[in-house]
Subunit: 555 residues, 2 copies
């Protein structure tokens, strides 16, 4: 295999311009180089006989070398890198900051797409596709907006050996791609609302630590871009979309989120206001922006002259929204749920919900076992469940247990000689490890119930962790200690940008890194804001507090 190794080395692009990254000691960062040096995955090399195997000269894997070498609590960055690669979600790639999404993660993205796409279509949103490339003039039309991206824009300057006359940008987002034609399509109030979405790839050539799913130079997302006659219509949609994003995270990925509004400093550049759902990674104590839904106001409408003839005959500017959800969502779910054995996938999005493992016993015929295993698999599939039967003869049951635990399959169904005799199967939950024996007659209904319970329990467990890790403070002195305890912090705030700048600067001085506002949370089910008593002062400036803000270190 030496040839393969050296081939990979040949392909490694020299990434000198990104060398700065390695000084920024954060999660997932040095993994790319490491991965490339790794030996081919051990579990792919047959290495002789193991235990629990039925007859023959079949090859058998050793039960060593599988699983993770790093504990989540010991080195989170290393653990994350291992779990996404050994769990077969991600393969590292020779262009820095770009990752390969393997089928195991891509099918989760497809599940998210299916759900969200259906929901927005119910709202009347239609899908379109706009070009990858943006002319310089269009990109720079909205000044505040482009300033938010300028340093991260990738530019195509050549085709073949020829220089392009004008460099062309690769879209970092599509406001400036789409809005020039919105100006053409929208004439009358009857053309509103204009509701368009696209599923595509975008590129942001960031110099911060790349991390699979969480921060990559190219990523997949959907971007919705809508135009409305009134601010009220736009406001309403912003929140409807935010609710759908919450459902993606909570109902599909089992990750609890807090809805809120971004500070002026953190809002989308060029927009009016940004609403957000914020998630929390207990292992690092960091917040993470999970998805955002922006009201763009009329800024872009002014710049691109997007106006309509109103009922009264006057010409009015439209109100616009944009909203996006990315493959980051998969990474957040991995970070929240994964454990020292590997991925833990929520049943609603797991590519395989149940793995059926027949356990042959020495000296006994496998005919009956094979038939029962195939029957059960068929029966569960008929109920619409995603089931894999792992009847491979060259792997031991123990190896299979570890393998499917590593990949996060929610439920394992074991079928051994005793189970055959008693006409039962053993179910083992991935999330808790709990085992139970279930009679064949009750199997389908029971498996469905257990999967539903896993989905629910995973969310509840994560919500309890989130709740336990939000600390309410009122004084600056409590701020850094709370961050250092891996908390996110709810604190009364004067809502001034200069103060947020100052908090960032002061917190950056410590070891754990700078903190910023995650959002000003809405009062919402599952997250009730305390009352902001008259006369409460800002924890950071001592000025009168205007609202509660959620602060934290973040991704």
């Amino acid at each position: 295999m030496a040839g393969v190794e050296s081939k990979m080395a040949d392909l490694t692009v020299s990434n000198k311009p990104e060398a700065a990254e390695t000084s920024d000691a954060v999660d997932g960062k040095k993994k790319e180089k490491k991965e490339k040096k790794e030996k081919p995955q051990k579990e792919k090399k047959p290495q002789g006989q193991g235990a629990g195997q039925s007859g023959g000269k079949k090859e058998m894997k050793k039960e060593t070398g599988l699983g993770l070498s790093t504990k989540k609590s010991d080195d989170f960055g290393e653990w994350y890198s291992e779990v996404v690669t050994k769990g077969e979600m991600i393969e590292y790639y020779d262009v820095s900051g770009c990752y390969i999404l393997r089928p195991w993660s891509m099918s989760i993205w497809e599940a998210i797409k299916d759900f969200f796409d259906k929901e927005i279509k119910k709202m009347g949103v239609e899908n379109a596709y706009f070009p990858l490339f943006v002319s310089k003039a269009a990109l720079e039309a909205e000044k505040e907006h482009v300033e938010g991206f300028a340093a991260e824009v990738a530019w195509v300057t050549k085709s073949g050996d020829s220089d392009l006359e004008v460099p062309i940008a690769v879209r970092p987002t599509s406001e400036t791609v789409m809005y020039p034609v919105y100006a053409k399509w929208i004439r009358s109030h009857r053309d509103l609302p204009l509701l368009i979405n696209q599923w595509n790839n975008v590129v942001r050539w960031e110099f911060k630590h790349p991390t699979p799913f969480i921060r990559s130079r190219e990523f997949l997302w959907q971007e919705g871009h809508t135009a409305h006659a009134t601010k009220e219509d736009a406001d309403k949609e912003v929140l409807e979309i935010l609710e759908l994003y919450k459902q993606v995270y909570e109902d599909l990925l089992a990750v609890p989120v807090i809805k809120g509004i971004k500070s002026e400093k953190e809002k989308f550049a060029g927009g009016l206001y940004t609403t957000t759902i914020e998630a929390f990674i207990p292992a690092t104590g960091k917040g993470i922006q999970a998805a955002t839904s922006h009201n763009l106001g009329q800024n872009f409408a002014k710049m691109f002259d997007i106006a309509y003839e109103a009922l009264d005959g006057g010409r009015k500017l439209v109100w616009q929204n944009s909203w996006g959800l990315t493959t980051r969502s998969i990474g957040v779910s991995v970070m929240v749920h994964g454990d020292d054995k590997g991925l833990v996938l929520p049943p609603r999005v797991a590519p395989v919900q149940v793995v059926v493992i027949p356990i042959p016993f020495k000296g006994l015929s496998t005919d009956e076992l094979s038939a029962a295993s195939a029957d059960i698999t068929k029966q569960l599939r008929a109920a619409g469940l995603r089931v894999k039967e792992d009847a491979r003869e060259n792997y031991s049951p123990g190896w299979k247990y570890s393998h499917h635990e590593l990949k996060g399959v929610p439920l394992r169904l074991e079928l051994g000689p005793k189970d055959l005799e008693k006409k039962q199967a053993r179910l083992v939950r991935r999330d808790t490890g709990a085992k139970e024996d279930v009679p064949w007659a009750d199997l389908t209904a029971h498996v469905e119930a257990v999967l539903a319970d896993i989905q629910k329990s995973m969310l509840e467990k994560a919500r309890a962790e989130l709740t336990a890790n939000i600390k309410t403070i009122t004084k600056w002195d409590d701020f850094i200690p709370a961050l250092n305890e891996k908390k996110i912090v709810l604190a009364p705030w004067c809502d001034e940008m200069a103060v947020e700048d100052d908090v960032k600067k002061r917190s950056a001085a410590g070891e754990g890194g700078a903190a910023k506002t995650l959002c000003m949370p809405f009062d919402q089910p599952g997250f009730k804001l305390p009352e902001l008593a008259e006369g409460t002062l800002c924890f950071a400036s001592g000025k009168p507090a205007k609202k509660w803000a959620l602060w934290g270190r973040s991704y």
Copy 2:
């Protein structure tokens, strides 16, 4: 609206490098500049009262200005450009060779995706996502292959204001992106077959005339990349995929295709052989490559060292395939079926299959009409049909007829006062213009039957045209005259690349442009090859003929 116009002008990128295109007098070519100068679409401007309108001071469109200004037979290129823009499939864009796919065409692509994705998943193919960017080293690893694309590769050389140390290519196709990791993933015979597909965008910075859907610098497609233990397995899959492509064209898009194999000159660079489905555009007499399924042999396996440990312990190279279907398919369907009234969409992929148009009558209450129209719409939708009710009061029925004809809606259902009285509806077919009155009681079943018949008739009509336009010849003297009669030509051939080069050169001398081999057709249902009698000579070289080849001018 002057502001909008000048805004569009500001955004126009200077396209000097592509100026050469305008000397290449082919379809769709000069349309970009033209389109930009066009007035905003007339149908979007309310212009006072029209006929057939029920009461009130509602605005009413004039029934002029709608529809196409060019006939398909007068100026095909101009007609095509008009039909895709006025039919709301495409919007032109300020980066040359890039087009906006509006919801009306995107939903057709989604229908194709849904069908094909389900079918390949049944075959065991899984979706993944590989990066947009390719390192120079990987791109250039397979020499023959990269030579096929080198001139068309777009290079990113800057991020923000900084030069990248190494330029990075935007993928023109993903062989060289994917195969380095295939070498890592494939170890044993048990890792085979490896069956991966992705739906994505690719970029080929071509300098030939750009034409919406047919030839664009960025396009959407799926690319399947599979690895097999044996050539037999690979061969089998190549044809299975080709059959699915045929089904997409014939069963979904109602476009007949001819299956065959590409000549050595026309095959995929770096592969072993290329199978293809070829379609035909009667209006121009040109063939068009509709989709290709390649057996790559072991060339890439050698270059990237993709090998497996065989059952006997030896190390063997894999056999690889790649196969792709693009948004070109939408353009082919438009070119084949569209007419002087606009698009004609096949029911299976039409975003709207039936448009219901209530016709108010002066002096009569519209309550009963509205109720009946809504009822019928609901009833048809309940049967799973895609139905739009166009009850807008500010457009006349005649305007609506033209509008939905322009957009290619397969079936119109009119509901007027006489229909109410007789409890019937009038159905008007888009493809033939045929009208019939159908009692409400039979409506759903009848509409379903008519849609099925439209789908079938469109394919049959197109197949008859294809068959009538294939001319079998045996002598060179008949070749150019046949091409000039807008035929494609079946001729006995010696299968030598030098002869194909020569045919290309000799035919290029005439006015209609060069001809090349479209494919060497398989004997197939609907296209029986004549017998190649012993001693038959090549039509072009006079050497002994080895096979029948299909020749034509082409896109």
